[in-house]
């Protein structure tokens, strides 16, 4: 269907689908190619960032299958009161052994922040990177198993997008305000963790009854 065609009898869905696909008046590829080439030139830092953001927001099949067991453990181990500590609570599950390390890393990062503030920027950035890694590990290994409501899913997608924006800035050849960016990244990961953890607890609570029948006298 074109603008010059005479009247055609179509249903609305047909008419909408018949509208032509369009492309932007100004070329986008040149900007995109320049950006990609710039990123390729800064490959070492980009690769380093990529290693650090191995977010996998998919449900691992093994974890999905073991939800009842996770729920049982979560039910037995009450979550600590603060967000950084609570994110590690599900790590007690035997099915998420790797998350135990995240717990340790969290605690290490927290201890560093609370009791021995690093004086130099490099040390502070290293602590933020460590915390970022720990949060990501929890999200990857445990948090992704939590089912999300539609609204939470949209919020999670938005946070993931914002993390992506921060990662792009961090991957820039000469990233300014590196510490601020890493702090922003940690803040966003904590938001995402809180979102995932609340859903995780909800799922755990729902499944706890069934799990108790099997595991508790």
């Amino acid at each position: 269907m074109s603008a010059s065609q005479p009247a055609t009898r179509l249903t609305l869905p047909e008419a909408l689908r018949a509208l032509p696909l369009v492309r932007p008046e100004r070329e986008v590829w040149n900007e995109l190619a320049a950006r990609l080439q710039a990123e390729a030139r800064s490959a070492p830092p980009a690769a380093r960032i990529a290693r650090r953001r191995r977010l996998r927001y998919v449900v691992p099949a093994a974890l999905a299958a073991g939800v009842a067991l996770v729920a049982f453990e979560a039910h037995r181990a009450p979550a600590p009161p603060t967000a950084p500590a609570t994110v590690a609570a599900p790590a007690a599950s035997p099915s998420t052994g790797g998350a135990m390390a995240a717990h340790d890393a969290n605690n290490a990062a927290n201890a560093t922040n609370a009791t021995n503030q690093p004086n130099d920027t490099a040390a502070r950035i290293a602590a933020l990177e460590q915390r970022s890694d720990a949060l990501e590990r929890w999200l990857q290994e445990t948090g992704a198993a939590a089912p999300l409501s539609g609204q939470d899913l949209a919020a999670a997608a938005e946070i993931e997008n914002l993390i992506g924006v921060v990662d792009v800035a961090l991957a820039a050849p000469q990233a300014q305000q590196t510490e601020a960016l890493w702090r922003r990244r940690v803040d966003l990961l904590e938001d995402l963790t809180a979102l995932r953890y609340s859903s995780y607890r909800l799922a755990a609570t729902s499944a706890a009854g069934a799990a108790n029948d099997h595991f508790i006298d």
Binding site: M1, S2, A3, S4, Q5, P6, A7, T8, R9, L10, T11, L12, P13, A15, L16, R17, A18, L19, P20, L21, V22, R23, P24, E25, R26, V28, W29, E31, L32, A33, R35, L36, Q37, E39, A40, A50, R56, G150, Q151, L153, A154, A155, A157, E158, N161, G164, D167, V168
Partner: protein, 193 residues
């Protein structure tokens, strides 16, 4: 079943080349999906410049993450999800005007086959709809999303999606149906003398 404009066959070898960072492979993928991505964003946002930004950012994000693509879903669906997320992020940052659809003047909200005068007329009518309403229409009729899928992605209820579709359909009908256009209340008053 509605076939999405994104539903294009992409050779696995092309994706594999892109995953190694080959710029020429990126460009081939970009050329394949430039129009579907831009059109989706343009129809939903109704803003050429914003749609251009979506095209840039969605493609950049896809290329940055292409190493994570595992092939468990078609490439076009994976890319469409990224483009839709980018578009919805911009849509959410706007003031939601979906509730401002004036329905009082509409006589009939029942969907039915119509005579659509021409593409330009339909595009003009679409442009008058609130962005959210237009987005629901587009995602449902053109991209083939179900109401639950639209609700989930927009962070709204299924009934919201259904009502926006009904309102958008009714609004378009009113704008495109000549019998509505010739309603007496819409005629200019004759000047005295």
């Amino acid at each position: 079943m509605t076939r999405s404009p994104f539903d294009l066959e992409v050779p696995q070898s092309l994706i594999a080349r892109a995953q190694t960072g080959e710029l020429a492979a990126f460009e081939q993928l970009y050329r394949c999906f430039e129009r579907p991505v831009y059109t989706l964003a343009l129809r939903m946002l109704g803003d050429a410049e914003a749609a251009r930004d979506v095209l840039h950012d969605a493609m950049l994000k896809a290329f940055q993450r292409i190493a994570q693509y595992r092939g468990d879903a078609p490439f076009w669906a994976w890319l469409r999800q990224i483009a839709l997320n980018e578009t919805l992020m911009r849509l959410r940052s706007r003031r939601d005007d979906a509730a401002e659809v004036a329905l009082d003047a509409l006589r009939d909200e029942a969907p039915a086959p119509w005579v659509i005068a021409d593409a330009a007329g339909l595009e003009r009518a679409l442009a008058t709809l609130p962005a959210t309403t237009r987005s629901v229409l587009w995602l449902y009729h053109v991209e083939g999303y179900s109401h639950p899928e639209i609700a989930e992605r927009m962070g709204k209820s299924v009934s919201f999606s259904k009502s926006q579709l009904a309102r958008g359909t009714a609004r378009l009908r009113a704008l495109l149906d000549p019998t509505v256009e010739s309603m007496p209340c819409l005629q200019a008053n004759p000047q005295p003398g």
